[in-house]
């Protein structure tokens, strides 16, 4: 098994386990409380509106917005880590059909693995910091994934050499 194939398959399984462990931890210790927070703040906002208290309604909506922002990203992170891990494994298995030199294949595999790991990490970091750095990490990760996939697609579509 080539180094690039080993990198993709080993990295993919490790990432899948990491994503599942994160999902299990999230489901047991965080999700119920976060969902409860979303429901409570939304209900509180409309309750405040019924009580004709616009200030309280606005505060409750801000809480709802923040809780929903965090929840959406936490669920996305779980889904994307596992989804990208599966993609790494499948691409790794098919990697002998990519018609590039070994070194180029290693670069593509490394870019795909790095992107698959840091794209969801950037999304997760956005739950702690709404600034540009976590967003930049997520964009860099997704760009790496897309560029690597484009390269691999071209490699698979390439004409088969007569010796193959």
């Amino acid at each position: 098994m080539s180094g690039s194939r080993r990198l993709l398959i080993g990295g993919g399984i490790a990432l899948a386990l990491w994503g599942m462990a994160y999902g299990l931890w999230y489901a047991v210790f965080v999700e119920h409380q976060v969902l409860n927070g979303i429901g409570v703040s939304l209900a509180a906002a409309f309750d405040a509106a019924a009580s004709r208290s616009p200030g309280d309604a606005e505060t409750a909506f801000r809480n709802y917005e923040e809780a929903k922002y965090v929840y959406d990203r936490q669920v996305d992170v779980h889904g994307h880590w596992i989804g990208l891990a599966m993609l790494l494994i499948v691409v790794g298995i098919a990697f002998d059909r990519v018609r590039f030199a070994g070194r180029q294949k290693l670069v593509l595999a490394s870019a795909l693995l790095a992107g698959a790991a840091i794209f969801p990490l950037g999304v997760l970091l956005q739950t702690f910091d709404h600034g540009a750095i976590p967003r930049g990490i997520a964009i860099l990760g997704s760009a790496l994934v897309i560029a690597a996939l484009l390269g691999i697609t071209l490699g698979i579509a390439g004409r088969e050499a007569p010796s193959e």
Binding site: I9, I13, L17, G23, A27, A45, D96, I146
Partner: protein
């Protein structure tokens, strides 16, 4: 859709029949994995037709009731409406989770099936891990499905019911089994014997296999590009709109402005629809792409004529393109696009079922040959 005996023997010889022996880990994972995907897709279709739209209408109606109760200054009605919204959302969420987890575990099972020759354990240990995986993969979605119906009845915990506990147990079993397979893989890598593993399954270059692999790769790439476009153009706008529409609705209720409340309700429904179709198109394009790529590897096990294998591969790719494209058009073209999307899903299910039957025919042939030898 037959298959001549001589050509079958030739192919099974190339494939090494022992790797697909009765109750072997690979056979359990392939048949169990495709079975999980089929059940998950059928469940998704039934859910989409009979639950999803009705449930969305109920959520919308309850939200409208809450807004109008706020308008009337009726606090108890507001809380009652939100309790209804919570219940409808839980019903929807658990059904989506059931559908998604069943399919994803099916994918994982197929991948583990492909990796079996690299797992450096005895066949019995691999079979035990496969059973453990399938038990967890069945337990988690069933547990999640029951969460809405079981609730907190007889639960020893304050926020987590028995159905959740069993669902989490299922997740744990899947993690343990996957961890076991990973250890086997690491053993193989450590012993530097991975280079010597030969698997006839991966050397297949049939037309159906190439079509599924290439088509799948393009679908995954298209799904990723669409996801990136959604994140860049729509994600933050949608999040800002979600909050601003609700705030506007509440402010209008405070100001006793019924017209603005109704307009905000309409805009909120439109926003949720826009979000849902874009995320569904992104997710389905990638998932169908991955499925096509995985099925490419199992084509040597599909005991159908080459022409039929190629036809079913085309059907699968066609359905995989049709569904996400038509889902995206649902907001503009309504039921016509929705119907075409459902038809795309049906094509994928039919192609998958045909391949599963083909694999079952292969196992029957293998087993009868083994019986003949005995």
């Amino acid at each position: 859709m037959g298959f001549s005996k001589s050509s079958f023997s030739e192919k099974t010889h190339k494939l090494d029949a022992s790797s697909f022996a009765p109750l072997s880990a690979r056979r359990l994972l392939v048949l169990g994995g495709i079975g999980l995907i089929l059940v998950g897709m059928l469940f998704g279709d039934i859910f989409a037709v009979f639950v999803l739209h009705q449930n969305a209408a109920r959520v919308g109606a309850s939200l409208a009731a809450a807004a109008h109760a706020a308008l009337a200054g009726d606090r108890s009605a507001v809380l009652a409406s939100f309790q209804d919204v919570g219940s409808f959302l839980e019903n929807r969420g658990t059904k989506v989770d059931t559908h998604v987890h069943m399919i994803d575990f099916g994918y994982l099972a197929l991948m583990l099936a492909i990796l079996q020759p690299w797992i450096a354990f005895e066949e019995k240990a691999k079979r035990d891990f496969a059973w453990l995986f399938l038990a967890g993969a069945a337990l988690l979605p069933v547990g999640v499905f029951l969460i809405h119906y079981v609730g907190l009845a007889y639960s020893p915990l304050q926020t987590i019911g028995w159905a959740s506990i069993f669902a989490d147990l299922g997740g744990l079993l899947v993690i343990l089994a996957t961890l076991g397979f990973l250890l086997g893989l690491l053993n193989r890598f450590r012993s530097h014997a991975a280079a010597h593993v030969k698997d006839g399954l991966l050397s297949d270059r049939s037309a159906a296999g190439r079509l599924l692999l290439g088509g799948g790769m393009v679908l995954v790439l298209a799904g990723c590009l669409h996801g990136a476009y959604y994140a860049a153009v729509d994600l933050y706008r949608h999040e800002a709109l979600d909050s601003s529409i609700l705030t506007e609705m509440a402010k209008a209720a405070v100001a006793n402005d019924a017209g603005t409340v109704d307009r905000s309700l309409g805009a909120y429904g439109q926003l949720q629809g826009d979000k849902a179709v874009k995320i569904a198109a992104h997710a389905h394009s990638i998932e169908f792409g991955l499925l096509a790529m995985m099925l490419a590897f199992f084509q040597p096990y599909v005991r159908l004529r080459e022409t039929w294998k190629t036809r079913w591969a085309y059907v699968l790719i066609l359905g995989s393109v049709l569904l996400p494209v038509c889902v995206l058009m649902e907001l503009r073209y309504g039921l016509v696009a929705g119907g075409l999307a459902d038809f795309g899903g049906l094509l994928v299910i039919l192609a998958l079922l045909a391949m599963w039957i083909g694999i079952l025919r292969y196992t029957g042939q293998l087993d009868s040959q083994a019986g003949g030898v005995r």
